[in-house]
């Protein structure tokens, strides 16, 4: 089934024409509504009328996460506050989160894009669908939720945590679809084994898995253990949230909702566009978006766009799996974590030296984060000589990390000089997950 054949099966020429028209409109819109973009365009001597076709996009400037940070919180918002009906937030690189406001129309577009994904997975109005992404500032929960409602299936807003109760509902209610991170799907399978629930006891047939990188091997394991078909879903809050792209029954690349999100692949160093099929950094321009439209936003995700048409009948372009990042962002339990966020927390507590390590691992299919922080020599005074004093400092760091990162980290205090000194940011991270 195809939710919106008019948009998902357009001829390539029609799609390009539509994208060109929408690009012109969005450039005009930000030119008159976002001072940041007007300045950027004026500096490049570009007027909205210079942008008429989708090929003109290469004339436009890029937008980066740093631009979002510099314009915190609402500097890139184009719509007046009275039109904004929802605000989400995701991790910033330091200090402030990235804020994204949505108008009612944006929420409608998002819901339709999500409905297209679910339909491509084979979900129908008869399905009972459990959304086990986090509800709240994270776009995963509410994004998927609105999509399920939009297409008319029943949504169960499970959220995260309380896995045993979740499994009971999956079994007792005959839940047929689930949206969660792939690692959580494996954790569900493991908890099922522990509870003595067999895959014959449940009716799951579709899983929408995303928010973190996963492999073909993980897909096979999830499909075998839960007895469903697992589909990739991709998105990022800066652009919209989940549903930027989605797999179809072919499970061979993710179709991009390119009438709304125009993709480019660039060389992250030279910023030059790369030929179709080559791997580089994925860049998106939001086409008709009102709340916070972005021109050529650098996602930092590395992947390729796939040439050729898909057997499913959709004509919208597909992207391959995310192969890595062009920055040092980590995805832990579906949440984006930047080492610089950890650094800013550590530097905010005077007892710590600016030396630290992040050790990421996966235990029983759940990601773990261990933060090692080095104590300053000056901390060791006559009052810092009990486990209670050390514990208090450990707890202080853990609770600040939790509030900044939105995930719990285990904390380990290290003696002065014991963390290896290094050059470069990536040396702060050891990722032991086998992905």
């Amino acid at each position: 089934m195809i939710y919106n054949p008019n948009k998902e099966c357009m001829s390539r020429d029609e799609m390009s024409a539509l994208q060109g028209k929408r690009l012109h409109k969005i450039v005009e819109y930000v030119y008159y509504n976002v001072p940041f973009y007007r300045n950027k365009l004026q500096n490049l001597d570009i007027r909205p009328d210079d942008i008429q076709t989708i090929e003109d996009i290469t004339k436009l400037p890029f937008t980066t996460k740093k631009d979002l940070r510099d314009n915190y919180p609402f500097g890139l918002q184009a719509a007046p506050q009275s039109e904004i009906i929802r605000v989400h937030a995701s991790s910033g690189t330091t200090g402030n989160p990235t804020i994204v406001g949505y108008t009612r129309k944006d929420i409608g577009v998002w819901s339709e894009c999500m409905a297209r994904c679910l339909t491509a997975y084979g979900v129908t109005r008869d399905d009972i669908f459990s959304v086990a992404y986090g509800y709240g500032l994270f776009t995963g929960g509410l994004g998927a939720h609105y999509g399920v409602e939009h297409m008319g299936a029943s949504v169960i807003p499970t959220g995260t945590g309380n896995t045993e109760k979740h499994l009971k509902l999956i079994r007792d209610l005959g839940v047929t679809g689930i949206a969660c991170t792939p690692s959580y799907a494996l954790y569900l399978a493991e908890t099922m084994d522990k509870m003595g629930i067999k895959k014959e006891d449940i009716r799951l047939k579709v899983g929408a898995f995303g928010a973190e990188p996963w492999t073909e091997q993980m897909r096979q394991e999830i499909e075998v253990r839960l007895g469903l078909k697992g589909y990739n879903i991709y998105g990022l809050s800066e652009i919209m949230g989940p549903s930027v792209s989605y797999e179809c029954q072919e499970q061979n690349g993710s179709h991009i909702n390119e009438d709304h999100f125009f993709p480019e692949i660039i060389n992250p160093t030279t910023l030059e566009p790369l030929p179709l099929g080559q791997t580089g950094e994925l860049v998106f321009t939001t086409l008709p978006k009102e709340g916070m439209p972005l021109l050529r936003y650098r996602t930092r995700d590395l992947c390729s766009l796939m040439p050729g048409q898909c057997n499913c009948g959709r004509t919208n372009i597909r992207m391959g799996r995310i192969e890595g990042r062009s920055d040092d962002m980590l995805i832990i339990r579906g949440i984006n974590v930047f080492p610089s966020q950890v650094e800013s927390v550590i530097l905010s507590i005077p007892e710590f030296a600016p030396h630290y390590m992040l050790i990421v691992d996966r235990e029983r299919n759940l990601d773990t984060l261990l933060v090692q922080a080095e104590l300053r020599q000056e901390v060791f005074t006559s009052t810092f000589d009990t486990p209670a004093a050390v514990d208090a400092l450990e707890k202080k760091l853990a609770s600040r990390l939790k509030s900044v990162l939105s995930i719990a980290a285990k904390v380990q205090l290290k003696a002065p000089g014991s963390i290896q000194r290094s050059q470069g940011k990536s040396a702060h991270v050891i990722d032991n997950r086998k992905l």
Binding site: F380, S382, F384, P387, V390
Partner: protein, 142 residues
């Protein structure tokens, strides 16, 4: 009235404790008493030794996180009930004890403890004529 104790932060992994002991050995420092308050990840190694100031400097030079603190050291007869009697005195005066350990010095038991209320502890010791040892009592040992 107090003696000086070294408190050393050591991580729970092999090699950390021996490093501390080797620094002390090389500096010819004599350990008189020691104890470790441990948790899962690290320990606080507390010790009484000859020349604590010099020991502290040597350890710092070797990069070992260490601090000095003053602790009380009561001298008790080596007999059942003596510790109870001494602690009861502090308990009656509502002085709480953060941590405590003991060692033998000749035929006397030495009870080392730390309290956050040092001034009141000092008065209690004097008023109750409790016997205590001070830093010089230790240095003549080493």
């Amino acid at each position: 009235m107090t003696i000086v104790q070294l408190s050393i932060f050591i991580e729970n992994r092999s090699g950390t404790l021996i490093k501390v002991l080797e620094v002390l050995k090389d500096a010819q420092i004599q350990i008189i008493a020691s104890t470790i308050a441990d948790t899962a990840e690290y320990g606080i190694y507390r010790l009484i030794c000859s020349e604590p100031q010099r020991a502290c400097e040597e350890l710092k030079r070797a990069g070992v996180p260490v601090s000095l603190s003053n602790v009380f050291a009561l001298e008790l007869d080596n007999q059942p009930g003596c510790a109870a009697e001494a602690i009861a005195t502090f308990s009656r005066a509502h002085i709480s004890i953060s941590y405590m350990y003991s060692f033998l010095l000749g035929d006397k038991g030495i009870l080392v403890f730390r309290t956050d209320n040092a001034e009141q502890a000092r008065q209690t010791i004097l008023e109750n004529h409790l016997r205590y040892i001070s830093e010089p009592d230790l240095s003549c040992l080493a």
